[in-house]
């Protein structure tokens, strides 16, 4: 791919001005395909909107669900505004405490996205480093890391996370650790595999012949070439982490009640679903679905485009 060409001819790189580089990116095949891929564009729009809502949401949210002075128990169980007993102040209705569902979703999506993105960054960092080490040096480090990965991969990550969380107890920080513990494996596995095949390529052998130190080879020549796969996995994994977090919170071993994520909002709605109060759980669930769908649409495009091997 383009990156491998770049590191094969490091001299040419210095001559390119930033402007020209931008132009190259703009006219690249990748951008060309992206502009013509409707699902990928829809996905990007959903992600951009979700990020906007998560970052700036508190500025325009009708209510702060954490602020007890803004909540009135008299407003409990109001249906969405288009229904007869609806209240125009609460567009999507209220829950059992009189909290506005829309505000709950806005604040909840902050927790969900924060966890999804942080876990992705942490797993990516740990997994990629271990994968590079494992693939580049081989030997005992490699077999140790890969045995651990093998054992972990043979169990459903959901079950491992559930088990770890029930030992740790609820908490956002604990969720970050538990999800990273199950998330690093896929990064390590993929990066190791690619590093192994890169090691056999001539340009890496050449760097060894000219006597570059190992860390330089790893960071300047191997890492840029495994980066596309890392980006693809990272994108897809964010959605995965958000879903896992939601599920754990739904089961009551995820986020604490004081920091409700989207999953916990759905759980709160489950208890009142049978009495016909559907809006408490339907809307947060729809939001999770939309968010993860957007991420997956973009991830699917990136995978097809950047690394068809990963299918």
């Amino acid at each position: 791919m383009t990156t491998s060409a770049k590191s094969q001819q490091p001299k040419e790189k210095e001559d390119i001005s930033i402007k020209e580089r931008l132009n190259r990116i703009r006219s690249s095949e990748f951008i060309y395909n992206y502009k013509r891929n409707i699902p990928a564009i829809i996905g990007s729009i959903i992600i951009a909107l979700a990020l906007f809502v998560a970052i700036f949401g508190p500025l325009f949210a009708p209510q702060n669900p954490y602020d007890l002075t803004e909540i009135d128990l008299a407003d409990a169980y109001k249906p969405p505004f288009w229904q007869e007993e609806g209240d125009s102040r609460f567009i999507l209705g209220t829950d059992d405490q009189g909290r506005d569902i829309l505000s709950g979703i806005i604040y909840g999506s902050r927790v969900s996205l924060f966890i999804g993105l942080t876990v992705m960054l942490m797993s990516c960092l740990i997994g990629t480093s271990l994968g590079l080490l494992s693939g580049y040096y081989g030997g005992k480090i490699d077999s140790l890391i890969m045995r651990i990965a093998d054992i972990q991969l043979s169990f459903p990550s959901m079950l491992i996370a559930l088990f770890i969380m029930s030992a740790f107890g609820r908490g956002v920080d604990k969720l970050l650790i538990a999800l990273t513990l199950v998330g690093w494996v896929i990064f390590a596995r993929t990066v190791r595999g690619e590093t192994l095949s890169l090691k056999k390529k001539e340009f890496i052998e050449a760097t060894k012949v000219i006597g570059l130190p190992n860390y330089k080879i790893i960071f300047k020549h191997v890492l840029p070439n495994v980066f596309t796969s890392v980006i693809v996995i990272s994108t897809i994994k964010v959605g995965d982490f958000i879903l896992t977090e939601a599920t754990l919170s739904f089961l009551g071993v995820g986020v604490p009640i004081t920091e409700p994520s989207l999953g916990l909002l759905v759980k709160n709605g489950f208890d009142v679903l049978f009495s016909g109060l559907w809006w408490v759980s339907v809307f947060p669930g729809l939001y999770i679905m939309m968010l993860v769908f957007g991420i997956n649409l973009l991830g699917d495009f990136l995978r097809d485009e950047l690394n068809p091997k990963l299918k």
């Binding site: 699902p39 054992i151 043979s154 169990f155 459903p156 959901m158 079950l159 559930l162 088990f163 770890i164 029930s166 030992a167 740790f168 959605g239 879903l243 939601a246 599920t247 739904f250 089961l251 009551g252 071993v253 999953g263 759905v266 709605g269 489950f270 679903l273 049978f274 016909g276 559907w278 759980s281 339907v282 669930g285 999770i288 679905m289 993860v292 769908f293 991420i295 997956n296 649409l297 699917d300 299918k311």
Partner: protein
């Protein structure tokens, strides 16, 4: 072949040992069984007695030693809550779990494989693109939410299906199964469908990828040139080869399914082993958690082993190492 099998069996033992160690250490931190078991106003004397009775007064490595010794003699400890052997409690619930897992798998296979073959054989058609977009949506759905929505639509609004529990169970081959009674069917449909949903998407994508790859191969062109009917080319030739990765991944997915039943069973109050696990976590019933995880570990290791063997039987080109 025999050498390979022996090597794999030894590996399996090592894995199980490591898993038992990790599981045991972590389980020691799950909840507080003493406060769960005793009334709030229990005296210091009673608390000490309970700790001794459960063997929690010994240092952790001694506890682990006793645990391993017990396991090797087939004793997984007694449930704190039910005061019955943990393994027995779990085994009692296996038929209920297997019932939904198998029903879900059949639903998934019946729906996903034909759709996957179609989308893989005719990737340019609009309907294939709709199928693929639908499958992405399928992976993006939180299964617990889907379960809730099904309950709301089919039980609360329409009243077609019961919202929770298991139907009347009938004893068949020594197992209590509910799929042979009418009420059993009505109870099983929603949970099985919920469980199947994520797997339909997964299986469909795998089948499609395999089909696309195989449709380009020379043998497919040759079969066509020879005048084999299109249906036979698709299902007889291409699908057969496309199924190899499907079998591997699906083998591993059976395990995932067992894990995912914890969620489905919790939503539908289905009396299977997954709900037992969740209840035990809430109640800090550690022996059941340990026994469940060890049992799942054994199932997993065995499935992975079986998948590897089946793999070589389907495709003789694969060498065992």
């Amino acid at each position: 072949m025999i050498k390979y099998i022996i090597k794999r069996l030894l590996q399996m033992l090592v894995v199980l040992f490591v898993v038992s160690l990790v599981v045991f250490i972590f389980t020691n931190y799950i909840g507080d069984p003493i406060s769960m078991l005793l009334p709030e106003d229990a005296s210091q004397e009673e608390i000490q007695q309970a700790i001794r009775r459960l063997g929690l007064d010994k240092p952790i490595h001694v506890q682990y030693g006793i645990f391993v010794k017990d396991i090797l003699s087939g004793n997984f400890g007694k449930s704190y809550v039910f005061s019955r052997p943990a393994l027995e409690l779990i085994i009692e619930r296996i038929p209920a779990t297997l019932e939904i897992v198998i029903t879900a798998m059949i639903i998934a296979i019946v729906l996903a494989i034909p759709l996957g073959v179609y989308a893989g054989a005719y990737p340019k058609r609009r309907s294939s693109k709709v199928i693929m977009a639908g499958s992405i949506l399928g992976i993006s759905l939180p299964s617990f939410w889907v379960g809730m929505m099904m309950i709301y639509i089919f039980s609360v609004i329409l009243g077609w299906m019961p919202a929770s529990g298991r139907g009347e169970a009938i004893e068949v081959f020594g197992m209590r199964l509910s799929i042979f009674s009418m009420s059993g069917w009505r109870h099983i449909m929603l949970p099985a469908l919920t469980l199947a949903l994520g797997n339909i998407a997964m299986l469909l994508r795998l089948t499609r990828a395999g089909m696309q790859e195989n449709m380009r191969q020379d043998y497919v062109k040759f079969a066509r040139a020879k005048g084999v009917s299109p249906k036979k080319v698709l299902f007889g030739h291409a699908l057969k080869n496309a199924l190899i990765p499907v079998v591997t991944v699906f083998g591993v997915r059976i395990g995932q399914l067992i894990a995912f039943t914890t969620i489905t069973e919790t939503i539908y109050a289905w009396p299977g082993m997954g709900k037992l696990l969740i209840d035990s976590i809430y109640m800090a019933d550690r022996p059941i958690i340990v026994a469940y995880l060890m049992l799942v570990a054994v199932i997993f290791v065995v499935i992975n082993f079986a998948v590897d063997i089946i793999y070589t039987l389907i495709d003789p080109r694969i060498e065992l190492r």
